[in-house]
Subunit: 761 residues, 2 copies
């Protein structure tokens, strides 16, 4: 099924031969970024083969005109697109008049490496320019973790077979496209282009929203690493574009090194009128400090990151590579300094899905960032939603809700809804619950109750208000019901009484009331402020909440001892995923939508997502009955599906199932299980892999403020080791089947429970 062409290595992703048909996928896999921007592994030189050129800036997006079949009231006006931004890597080479283009020339040798330990992309290749004349290069590129605006390239090359002129053209280019533009528009308009000797700076704006971005470059050419060569380039510009072009009389066998430094500053971070000067200054500074200094900074930064977030797996090199690959991409997608940013499904590796934020963030990503990146980073993920509260209230109002009820968007860039399929946009409302659960999870993990008074309660109240209005009284059932929803299993639409949604909604209402009481006790002034701001009618609303949450209808089947995914689920023909022909799978590529909807097949954890969130609310036996019922009906056609099942299967001691599921999540992109890696990586599901390892095999849980481990490793894993932040400490954990070792690296003293035994650190 999958596509294995990468060399297994614990710290590197390596491609050791040239295969043009895999290149666009490799462009995704070998992407680099720094949380503020990212760049697919496009080539610096010209490339006329299949490629998705992609350079992305966090927070800079385009509100593309929505494409719908039939418009429905309440649909958003636009679909926010991750925006392909300035091509800052470009360096054209013409070797003795021949354009350097791997799609056109004979490639004699090719090697590409994503160095995850040090945070750079390396490429070596050798091509035949014509018979007897070869060009070979070693290209190293990174986006600086320390200097958020800086990208640097070292392009070292040699000619063999004769002295020839090499024309070299470093450039900057905003004249780029989005492949997924709905109406084939270009999104950038040029504002200015400045060019001089060995430097350029250009500026452009996006249509509609007027994001402005300036990109500056510097470069130098060295011969045998001595002093930089004096250059007399031809300088030229056109709309959205600037270049230097010069000709080097290259000597055969000699090594030349071109260093290119780019600085990209956007109006997301800087005032518009300062952008050109700022980019120019930062590029200039980068050149003065030089590639080696920047590179050393990069190594040091990544060393520190890995100190905090590495997971090592002894005895399974592929699993080791897989988990590091996932951690690496998560770490370069979101770094947590800016609460306006979030984690897009494809991060900085592709255009697909647009938007930046799904419920994935709270449901799947938060645990990784809490443990690996720490409290401040995790807190910023929560504040992101706090900052969007007003828009979530407006969004709910559009759908007819009132009194400050909030419905967070399914997909968003800035708090506004972007998604436009009614069954998702208007009905997949469980997302609201995940956002509340994120707050609960964060406070449980860090004990940061002050967050509740400062930000959390307001969000929780607005969400509770939404649910209280969204339930309706059924005269026929004499209970509160929730009609017309889509649960996490998107292979059901517009169902009534989805168990997960009802359960989560009821919990949200109860938790909001609980936090309300807690803040009243802890910080009465804050409460007063919040009550005044929200016009909360404490007596009436709390009573109404209690009335509703104590009387919610849940579909169950007592005979089977299970809860029902939704009312009527057992009216479906009951088949197992294993009964499906291989030729029918994935069903979303082979079956019409109605057939999927009326089948019993489940896309991703739905009931089990509820059991995952609220494991402590249920007995192990209840979980097991539901797991045994639902997992065999689950086709796992969402990248977010396997991880929840790993955690539960491991907990239930179903280790074969756990490992089977683990393989589907950990190397999803590396081995291209879904044949879509060319579109970008599945960034958010990578956090699910982390969950699988740490919560699944490591058995990590937080209960009553204490960290628990009940490790159950796959048989061939000798050990599993990782570091985590917990409360105010950093811990180093090493687990194996035989023993465990837990060490506090820094912070307050803390108690950890392993297999029921309490250890004080």
């Amino acid at each position: 099924m999958h596509n294995k062409y990468l060399v297994t290595d614990e710290w590197k992703i390596i491609e050791d031969r040239w295969n043009p048909s895999l290149h666009q996928g490799s462009e995704s896999l070998f992407s680099i970024g720094n949380g503020f921007m990212g760049q697919r592994a496009n080539f610096e030189e010209s490339y006329s083969g299949q490629s998705l050129q992609g350079s992305y800036l966090g927070g800079v997006y385009y509100p593309d005109k929505t494409r719908v079949g039939w418009w429905k009231n309440g649909y958003p006006e636009y679909f926010a697109k991750v925006l392909n931004s300035v091509n800052w890597i470009g360096i054209r080479f013409r070797v003795d008049g021949v354009e350097l283009d791997l799609a056109q020339l004979k490639v004699l040798d090719f090697y590409r490496e994503l160095n995850m330990k040090e945070g750079h992309l390396l490429r070596r290749f050798k091509v035949e320019i014509r018979e007897g004349l070869t060009f070979e290069a070693e290209v190293c590129r990174f986006i600086s973790m320390k200097r958020k605006e800086i990208g640097a390239i070292s392009y070292q090359f040699k000619i063999k077979g004769g002295d020839v002129p090499v024309e070299i053209i470093p450039y900057l280019d905003f004249d780029v496209e989005n492949h997924d533009s709905n109406y084939d528009e270009k999104f950038w308009e040029g504002l200015e282009e400045n060019v001089a000797t060995q430097k350029a700076v250009i500026k452009a704006r996006t249509r509609k929203l007027d994001f402005q971005v300036a990109a500056a470059m510097r470069y130098e050419l060295y011969h045998n690493e001595s002093a930089p060569l004096p250059l007399y380039p031809e300088e030229s510009t056109r709309d959205k574009y600037a270049e230097n072009a010069f000709t080097l009389q290259a000597k055969a066998g000699e090594k030349y090194s071109l260093y290119k430094y780019a600085a990209i500053c956007s109006s997301f971070h800087y005032p518009k009128d300062s952008l050109v000067a700022k980019a120019d200054e930062l590029a200039s500074q980068a050149r003065r400090d030089g590639f080696k200094t920047l590179w050393a900074e990069q190594k040091a930064d990544w060393q520190q990151r890995w100190e905090q977030s590495d997971i090592s797996i002894e005895g399974d090199a592929e699993a080791q590579q897989g988990i590091r690959f996932n951690i690496f991409h998560l770490s370069q997608t979101y770094t947590g300094e800016d609460a306006r940013l979030n984690i897009g499904p494809k991060g900085f590796t592709g255009e697909k899905y647009g938007g930046s934020t799904y419920w994935d963030t709270e449901a799947y990503c938060l645990p990784f960032y809490m443990a690996s990146a720490g409290k401040e980073v995790a807190r910023n993920l929560l504040v992101y939603r706090y900052n969007h509260l007003e828009k979530a209230i407006e969004n709910a109002a559009k759908l007819g809700f009132s009194n400050g009820a909030a419905l967070y968007p399914m997909v968003t860039m800035n708090g506004e809804e972007c998604h436009n399929e009614w069954e998702i946009t208007f009905e997949e409302i469980h997302r609201n619950g995940a956002i509340a659960f994120g707050i609960y999870n964060y406070v449980r993990y860090f004990g940061d109750e002050a967050y509740l008074a400062e930000y959390g309660l307001e969000v929780l109240m607005a969400i509770a208000r939404f649910w209280a209005q969204r339930f309706n009284w059924s005269e026929s059932k004499k209970q509160y019901v929730m009609l017309g929803v889509t649960g996490p299993n998107e292979y059901e639409n517009n169902v009534n009484n989805n168990w997960y949604t009802n359960y989560l909604a009821k919990w949200c209402i109860e938790y909001a009331a609980e936090v309300y009481a807690r803040v009243a006790e802890m910080d009465p002034a804050a409460l007063q402020r919040i009550v005044a701001k929200t016009g909360f009618n404490a007596e009436g609303e709390l009573k109404q909440w209690q009335e509703i949450s104590s009387n919610v209808y849940f579909p169950v089947n007592e005979e089977l001892g299970i809860v029902l995914q939704q009312e009527g689920y057992l009216d479906k023909e009951q088949r197992m995923a294993d009964d499906l022909e291989l030729s029918e799978r994935p069903i979303n590529q082979h079956w019409s939508w109605d057939r999927i909807l009326r089948s019993c097949f489940i896309k991703q954890a739905d009931v089990l997502q509820g059991f995952y969130f609220f494991e402590d609310h249920f007995s192990k036996e209840e979980l097991e009955r539901n797991f045994d019922f639902y997992e065999p009906r689950t086709v796992h056609e969402s990248s977010l599906s396997p991880c929840v099942h790993v955690v539960q299967a491991a907990y239930l001691g179903k280790m074969d199932k756990a490992y089977e599921m683990y393989l589907r999540t950990s190397r999803l992109d590396l081995d291209d299980y879904n044949r879509e890696v060319h579109e970008g990586l599945h960034i958010t599901s990578m956090a699910g892999t982390w969950m699988s390892v740490v919560e699944g095999f490591g058995g990590m849980r937080v209960r009553n403020g204490q960290l628990h481990f009940n490790p159950r490793l796959p048989e061939h894993w000798k050990s599993l080791a990782f570091k985590i932040n917990f409360r105010n400490s950093v811990l180093k954990i090493r687990l194996s089947s035989q023993d465990h070792a837990i060490e506090k690296l820094s912070g307050d003293s803390v108690e950890v429970v392993v297999h029921g035994e309490t250890i004080s650190l």
Copy 2:
């Protein structure tokens, strides 16, 4: 709410003053057609104001690239659009150098009349060209009912205030657009343009499907109706366009008459290489015969049509005008000579909705055409579906059905599905049942059982096969259920066990089995042919049909004594349509889709549609309980909703409700209730008006092969009279509150039952 600007007249639609803001609506209302082609009431001369230029040819469409948000498997590749075709009416005038354009000049007088009795459009107007100089004209236009390719125009004009040159430019133009093109494409490509003195013929093809159309023109200019003037025009062409331009030295006060004849031939009817010659020949013939002859033919044809189909209402001039308006448009939309044509929702009056055929044809239009146009015309409507059977089987196969099961499309031009919202396309499958019901209805009406052996049974079997597969066994209910459907009430999507669909499906299966047995008895050879062709396993399939149809689940509420629109309907908050604020109505313009879906509000008859089709299956009390429950929850936001309610309300003696509903259907377009007449007319719902009058107030039913009348007229109606075809007779019926008169005009002897009393004719 509505928009009354037309003069009430029993036989005419009259607009007696110029109002540019209403013009586009009038263009729809005053449309003319002949079943093969149609033309909106655009002006012949230039018009730079708001207008929807529309000239449509039956069967000539464009498969526009579908526009969707997210693509789903099984969606059709294209959306068939009614295609705006050649502008054949165009005649430009430049009066003393001033372009004649009612949007730019001062209109001194304006009168427009749709003469329904004689089938033509008349316009008189007077404009000021400049101070002291006026131009006045009387323009008459029709599309010949007798000569299907011919349109004719008489343009008589006078100048007052001086002798001035008038430049006159008759032209033909394929360079036209569709307003609703998804991607702003032009759909026509020019093939040839020929022009000579007083004649032109041009030819174009549609992109993709290569429909070819040739349009030819002739014209003549008369002075005071004497001999035609000798003309020396400048002839010119450009791509897709041809014109003659000449200048008349017009004398003040003299009457000039321009006659333009156009012939339009399409490859839908003629071989492609014959089109130019054919159009040219027909135009030439028309000119030779002359306007007066053509006009006399037209009058005679309409006289005969009205003989067959008129309804006269004494005592209610508006109702009289309304019903004739509806009959007029139905008669010029579909004339039944060609089984490849059908009745589009907007007929030849606008672009909206694309496609030509919805379930409207069988559910709403068939009764009108049976009674008014007779057996052959009605039969062609049925044969249309027979001819699409193979594509309906392919369509079902795409959705996973097998063994010759057929799912007819929701919207189609040629049998292929065009609609692409999953909840409609894949789930509004009750349309299949309406097609079966159409066969039943036709055979019941005409007693034409031979149709069953020849065509009907094959269709019925394929439909029954579909339903037999579409039901699934519910282990939980121990009955057959139907999951994931959309009923006629499109304000519910993806519901389980929609009562109407389940009832209709069960009936279809039973009716197919019954017809199977009848054909076996009546025409064993035909049965043998059909069994062989369809691979029908008589024993197995008939047994399975019986097993399913005898054990279908129906949602009911015994306490209320009603059937339930679908499972769970009573979990909804129960509100009445009258409780809605005016500002919220229509809810489809004010509420988000999820809110509509989870409300109890009903768009159009759903349960009651079932009671309408199968009135004899239920007691009057059952109907009344369901009517009293559902009608108050119905918002009638489909133009197809009121008519069913008129029929039932009249039957139940609820005359106020019946008349209220009647007003909403009979003058829907004339008084522009929905503020959308500028987009075209609601052709199919016009047939619902006919149903309201004949079946509602007239109380006409067919039971056991006999025609029944139980008239109940609105109080102020003195009488209601109409003619109908029934079996092999033509009857003239006159009903009033006091008495009735029924006369056989032609055909076999027949028995009619009025108020229970049998009359032999």
